[in-house]
């Protein structure tokens, strides 16, 4: 057992930003735990950029305008005080990153450039070509590496949290490389383990490891999750792999075409056509597929994204990465052929319930959560592009401060022999387990259920049957044996642990979606197609009590803008 003042689990943008802030006091010892090497984290895949009202591209922009756009985009489910806080802090954290060496694209006079983005009333998104997340992640990693009071636990997998019901005491980790279970005792723990959009296994833009482990561990330890029924589907994922083609495809004038050769957006949004908001376009594509006007069938159905009319020169100049991804991963060159695409699960608006947005604290004392695994909530029912990266940085910074200051005030709590053994016993049990179920089958089935029944269209029937079936899969999970008996780098075991986390979360998503009888942002109920502010202008909070799920609703904090219809 080792002692750390602050243990940060997760080394994506959120975790690294938090660790750097906590480590600002050299007397504080910080551990950063990650199941993959920090620079492999999913933050590196973000392309577009992050939003901050610097006013460089248009001086009339302001944090207030940023906040309004975010609240409107959220379909009024965001907590408005938290949104204002984020938008006001955003410029400063961008300048910090610039000092640390992020190569932001510049205006000719040297100021940071900004580009327009969906749902934003001014060009506000700062970026570094089309690899913003990558340079941000690597810069944060190097800055963390430079700090002597940060230790890295690379390729360590979070198994469990230790707490006494009131306060957190530490974390239990599985060392992937050596197969040992270790405990880190901590005064403060920050979860920054990212999203769980991989519950849509076959149709996700996310990295293979975005399985929601931290969210599931918190959930099992009695911490409520907030608004997890809200999942964002991106309209243009590659058909075969779900790899994301940036929004720029539509921005630059790409057409969406069905089997009959029609630009079908005419039917759904005749004015905006392909440039309608993400959720509307995703729904339109799925309608086409359902009406038999798509290509292919089932989970492999698709429509076409046609860029050919833009011409070779424009495609090469404006959409080089999009072209490369289409060639590498779909085997299609958009200069000569239309690209098969389909909406794809992209982002989790919900997550671990944050009680105080200024500290990112959860209901368990000493436990904080930041990034996509957390729900502050600033995204409400629908996140705007570019708002996730800024969320990581702003709330990472303040969570880092809070964890550090908290750690200075408290002592370590004792950890019992039983607690020390628990993790090892659990792993032993898994190794000994017998059964004939197959991991890959259950994972695939989960992906089918989530996609077909908890996907872009939902209704009472689909959701309740999804809930039943996912509960069944959870039972079957108990009978999947660990085929690989080795203790060294056992990815078979890791996949099994991840699958349990995904199944538990998927089931909770179905449960919350079932009880939200309205349509708002990313949550669309065919049986309740309208937004219902009278009954559902509320956050849903779900608890896992043993095997049962329990729901409560909590008021949204409306401090500036009264809910209005979300029209673009």
């Amino acid at each position: 057992m080792r002692d750390y003042d602050v243990v940060v689990v997760g080394a994506g943008g959120a975790g690294l930003r938090t660790a750097i802030e906590s480590a600002r006091d050299p007397s504080i010892r910080v551990a950063v735990v990650s199941k993959v090497y920090p620079t492999r984290s999913h933050t590196g895949a973000a392309q577009g950029g992050l939003n901050a009202a610097l006013g460089n591209a248009d001086p009339s922009d302001s944090p207030e305008a940023h906040a309004f756009d975010t609240i409107k985009g959220s379909d009024f489910l965001a907590d408005q005080d938290a949104v204002y806080f984020m938008c006001q802090q955003a410029p400063e954290v961008v300048y910090e990153l610039d000092r640390w060496g992020v190569p932001f694209s510049r205006l000719p006079d040297g100021r940071i450039a900004q580009r327009p983005f969906g749902g934003a009333s001014f060009p506000r998104t700062v970026f570094s070509a089309d690899r913003t997340g990558h340079v941000l992640l690597h810069t944060l990693f190097e800055q963390a590496l430079a700090r002597e009071n940060i230790d890295f636990f690379n390729e360590f997998f979070l198994l469990d949290l230790l707490h006494d019901g009131q306060r957190v005491k530490g974390v239990v980790l599985y060392d992937i490389k050596n197969g040992e279970v270790i405990t880190l005792r901590a005064k403060a723990v920050v979860l920054a383990t990212g999203g769980f959009a991989r519950i849509y296994w076959q149709r996700s833009t996310n990295a293979i490891g975005n399985t929601g482990d931290g969210v599931a561990v918190a959930f099992r330890n009695g911490i409520p999750l907030k608004d997890i029924e809200f999942i964002q589907f991106h309209p243009t994922g590659l058909s075969k792999t779900g790899i994301l083609l940036s929004e720029a495809c539509r921005g630059e004038g790409g057409y969406l075409i069905n089997k009959l050769g029609e630009r079908f957006m005419q039917r759904y949004a005749p004015a905006k056509m392909e440039l309608a908001p993400r959720d509307m376009v995703s729904r339109a594509i799925e309608y086409e597929i359902r009406e038999g006007r798509g290509f292919g069938e089932g989970t492999s159905a698709y429509v076409l994204l046609d860029l050919r009319h833009l011409g070779e020169a424009k495609i090469k100049e404006r959409l080089p990465q999009v072209r490369q991804l289409a060639i590498d991963f779909e085997g299609v060159d958009p200069v000569y052929d239309p690209v098969p695409i389909r909406p794809t699960a992209h982002y989790c608006m919900g997550g671990i319930h944050i009680e105080n947005y200024k500290t990112s604290s959860t209901p368990l004392e000493g436990l904080y959560a930041v990034g996509e695994c957390a729900c502050v909530s600033v995204h409400g029912a629908n996140r705007l592009g570019g708002n996730s990266l800024i969320e990581l940085l702003v709330f990472g910074k303040f969570a880092g401060i809070s964890a550090r200051e908290y750690a200075k005030q408290v002592d370590f709590l004792p950890i019992t022999q039983g607690e020390l053994r628990k993790g090892e016993e659990y792993i032993e049990k898994l190794f000994k387990r017998e059964g004939t179920e197959k991991l890959a089958d259950i994972r695939r089935r989960m992906g089918e259920i989530t996609w077909e029944k908890v996907g872009i269209f939902r209704d009472e029937k689909s959701l309740s049957s999804a809930y039943e079936e996912l509960s069944e899969l959870l039972e079957r999970w108990e009978r999947i044996p660990v085929v690989d008996k080795s203790r060294i780098f056992n990815t078979n075991l890791i996949e099994l642990l991840e699958l349990r986390n995904m199944l538990e979360l998927a089931r909770a998503v179905a449960f919350c979606a079932l009880h939200r009888r309205e349509s708002r942002g990313g949550h669309y109920r065919e049986d309740f197609p309208e937004r219902d502010d009278d009954n559902f202008l509320k956050h849903s909070l779900v608890w896992q009590d043993g095997d049962r799920l329990r729901l409560e609703y909590k008021e949204v904090r409306i401090t500036h803008h009264q809910p209005a219809e979300r029209k673009y």
Binding site: D98, G101, H138, G331
Partner: protein, 229 residues
């Protein structure tokens, strides 16, 4: 197609699979793990060529498994772990050394309080920011594999971006000197192999010249002479 995989520790090595021609090598590995042998071990994360975790060797050539299509690899495949790193299990090799060498070489920026960055400042370092730490360049570097005091293409490419960044106040020349860029033989292996086409060799060439410029190295015909710091 017939797929052979070098295993460590010993395990099933030969597989017969049907793959759709447009499938990637990573998809093939996943299929083998899901359907044939769950003990088969390899790393993957982004599956989009950006996280740098999935490098392996196929038919003698180092590649990102997620970014090559099987149709371009022939009917018979031989997959091995990357060279130059300790094998942990099957295709998973030790990555800790990559990160440890970055730490030892202090590859990070020390922020200035006041600075001006113009677009052309960043143009120069733009490509070196794209390195994904996949480790492929180091695995094909003959100089590094002989265990000399050469820093290697990976670390030298990473350091490059800080050498020319107006926001950095750290004296990276000293660091650079310690990494001995002049030991590079300019064989170009690294530049041919880098999956991101970052031309590590070209960066190293400039770094050598920088040391010459600063009077820390003298260029002799056919080689360099150490001058010392």
């Amino acid at each position: 197609m017939v797929v052979r995989i070098k295993r460590h520790p010993a395990g099933r090595e030969e597989f017969n699979v049907d793959m759709e021609p447009k499938a990637t090598l990573l998809e093939l590995l996943i299929k083998l793990k899901e359907e044939e042998d769950p003990t088969l071990t390899f790393r993957s994360m982004c599956r989009a060529g950006i996280c740098g975790t999935c490098a392996v060797k196929v038919n003698g050539k180092p590649v990102l498994a997620c970014s090559v299509r099987v149709e371009n690899l022939g009917e018979e495949l031989f997959i091995e772990p990357l060279e130059g790193y300790r094998i942990i299990k099957d295709l998973a090799v030790e990555h800790e050394t990559i990160y440890e060498r970055l730490r030892l070489a202090k590859v990070w920026l020390m922020p200035a309080q006041e600075y001006e960055v113009l677009p052309h400042h960043l143009e120069r370092v733009s490509r070196s920011h794209e390195c994904i730490l996949c480790g492929i360049c180091d695995s094909v570097c003959p100089v590094l594999q002989t265990g000399s005091s050469f820093g290697g293409p990976l670390v030298l490419t990473r350091l490059y971006k800080h050498l020319y960044d107006p926001r950095n106040i750290k004296q990276d020349l000293e660091n650079l000197f310690g990494l001995n860029p002049q030991l590079c033989t300019h064989c170009m292996n690294c530049s041919y192999a880098c999956p991101k086409r970052l031309m590590p060799e070209a960066h190293i060439r400039e770094e050598e010249l920088l040391l010459v410029d600063k009077g820390l190295l003298r260029k002799e015909s056919g080689g360099f002479e150490f001058l010392g710091f």
